[in-house]
């Protein structure tokens, strides 16, 4: 694989861009692999990448029902932060955030990581107390966050309305090293690196069954035939329950649609990410100038990838209170993704009731920010057969044992 560089751009400019290679090979499945990863989204591709890079396991296939990065990886609002309350969460999200910092160099693919800072507004007395607690927790965890005053908020985000009609801004939790990245590029960068290591990325190949005997998986049946494997990793977010059904176990997961929308592009007006959890809306500005807006999740199970219409109204209403200047913006697109919600709003990484089958799911409404850390940890878990230190707390058995990593309380709604 030829490396991308400033020199490569100059070279290709001189020969009419005829020398660019395909970023990854279009592969047909072999008969057998050491490891099969189901799901070529960010988490699946990152798992495969770190299996190859950190553990030298390169006879790997990544199977995808649709197209690469076409699920929640391509549907999120690209926010990266690690200001979580619980130690287990802070550890894995901070690992991910720190890997994002050098991911472009690591993959030789520009993922456009922009550590522009993330503000979480405190709009009630309870939220102030909650975020102050998070700030203290973060200090102990080594995550840099700071609780700031309304005056500082206004300095960072001049377009904000501090004395809104329902909930005035009373302060904010500020993570200066959080930010955004180009979500598609994260999937593409990992895919290119995986393909370069000799891994097969097989798109439009749906898993229809999981073959097993005495609790050991021998392979999967797909729409492109049967493929054998020594280890199987299920990394399919919203459809985890469907695959678990095939494998014969149940997951503490319910799938709902979460929405996002994007406005027409405007001149730069906000260079940070702002999250308002009480009124429920969050917003950042993309490099193209669009305001990227995260909305609400449906309260009932569904797989529609569109979501209920009234959530758009609720989200937009909340954001107009917070940013009156956006009231005349036209919205360009709206979409939904199927998020896999666990009981404690924390992910599941680790072993399953099947001996050589591992699962990584339950990231719910906040998976994008975790991609590198999740892949790193899942790869270590699959390579050694035991959860690594990052994954240790996130096992499936925690529900049965009552060891929740309860972020639903800590994070409110947006997460």
């Amino acid at each position: 694989m030829k490396r991308y560089s400033a020199f490569a751009i100059a070279r290709e400019a001189l020969r009419h861009h005829t020398g660019w290679q395909r970023a990854w090979r279009s592969a047909q499945p072999k008969k057998a692999y050491d490891v099969i990863i189901v799901g070529a989204g960010g988490h699946g591709l990152a798992t495969a990448y770190y299996l190859g890079k950190n553990h030298g396991i390169r006879n790997v296939a990544i199977i995808e029902k649709g197209w690469l990065g076409g699920g929640n990886t391509g549907r999120n609002t690209t926010i990266i932060r690690s200001n979580y309350l619980q130690d287990e969460s802070a550890a894995i999200y901070e690992k991910a955030r720190s890997l994002y910092e050098t991911l472009s160099q690591d993959l030789n693919y520009n993922i456009m990581f922009s550590p522009r800072g993330v503000l979480m507004l405190a709009q009630t007395e309870h939220e102030i107390r909650g975020y102050r607690r998070t700030e203290h927790a973060n200090r102990l965890q080594g995550v840099e966050t700071r609780f700031i005053s309304p005056a500082e908020v206004k300095k960072i985000v001049p377009i904000i309305e501090l004395s809104g009609p329902r909930y005035p801004v009373l302060g904010a939790l500020w993570q200066p090293r959080g930010g955004t990245a180009r979500h598609d590029a994260v999937a593409w960068g990992y895919a290119r690196a995986c393909s370069d290591m000799g891994m097969d990325i097989i798109q439009q190949c749906e898993v229809t069954g999981i073959s097993q005997k005495n609790g050991v998986v021998s392979g999967v049946s797909t729409t492109k035939g049967d493929i054998a494997c020594n280890k199987l990793g299920l990394v399919v977010a919203g459809h985890s329950g469907v695959l678990a059904d095939m494998a014969g176990f149940r997951l503490p997961i319910e799938s709902v649609a979460l929405q996002a929308l994007v406005s027409e592009p405007i001149k730069p007006c906000m260079d940070v990410v702002v999250m308002a959890n009480t009124v429920h809306g969050y917003m950042s500005q993309s490099d193209k100038g669009e305001m990227v807006i995260g909305g609400g999740a449906d309260g009932f199970n569904n797989y529609t990838q569109r979501g209920s219409f009234h959530h758009i109204e609720e989200t937009v209403r909340a954001l107009i209170e917070t940013f009156p200047m956006i009231s005349r913006l036209k919205m360009l697109r709206q979409w939904g993704g199927i998020v896999d919600m666990t009981g404690d709003r924390s992910p599941i990484i680790g072993k399953t009731p099947l001996n050589n089958c591992f699962i990584n799911c339950g990231w719910g409404t906040g998976g994008f920010k975790a991609i590198p850390g999740s892949g790193w940890s899942m790869a270590a878990t699959m390579a050694t057969g035991e959860p690594d230190s990052l994954a240790a707390g996130f096992g499936l058995e925690r529900f049965r044992e009552g060891r929740f990593i309860d972020e639903s309380v800590a994070a409110g709604v947006a997460h």
């Binding site: 329950g241 149940r250 319910e254 309260g299 529609t304 529900f399």
Partner: protein
């Protein structure tokens, strides 16, 4: 918008008038249950892609709980029925089977 007919007051209620209440026909295990049963009761909710039976409450209406059969893929509503039923009515099951021949039937 999802519209469900309340089986008590007969009103076609928008989803904004309703509150979703999760999976229907769950066996509520108590303190004397085995670990497996209690774990399943608390966490192992059915999450099918297709036919699903749910509890809903007509909060901004008569205030009563009822059951609904719905397709989670298309949002098609097959029917609603009162909460005081342990299994979905036979007529409703037949109707669903007709519309979704692949459906494996209601399992407790």
């Amino acid at each position: 918008m999802l519209i469900l007919t309340c089986p008590y007051c007969g009103i076609d209620a928008d989803e904004t008038d309703l509150a979703p209440g999760g999976e229907a026909h769950v066996t509520r295990h108590g303190a004397d249950a085995s670990d497996d049963d209690f774990e399943a009761y608390l966490f192992h909710k059915r999450n099918p892609r297709g036919v699903h039976f749910e509890r809903w409450r007509h909060v901004y209406g008569c205030g009563k709980w009822f059951h609904a059969a719905r397709d989670t893929m298309t949002l098609e509503v097959f029917g609603t029925y009162p909460a005081q039923t342990l299994v979905p009515p036979k007529t409703l099951q037949t109707k669903i089977k007709k519309k979704r021949p692949d459906w494996k039937g209601f399992k407790k």
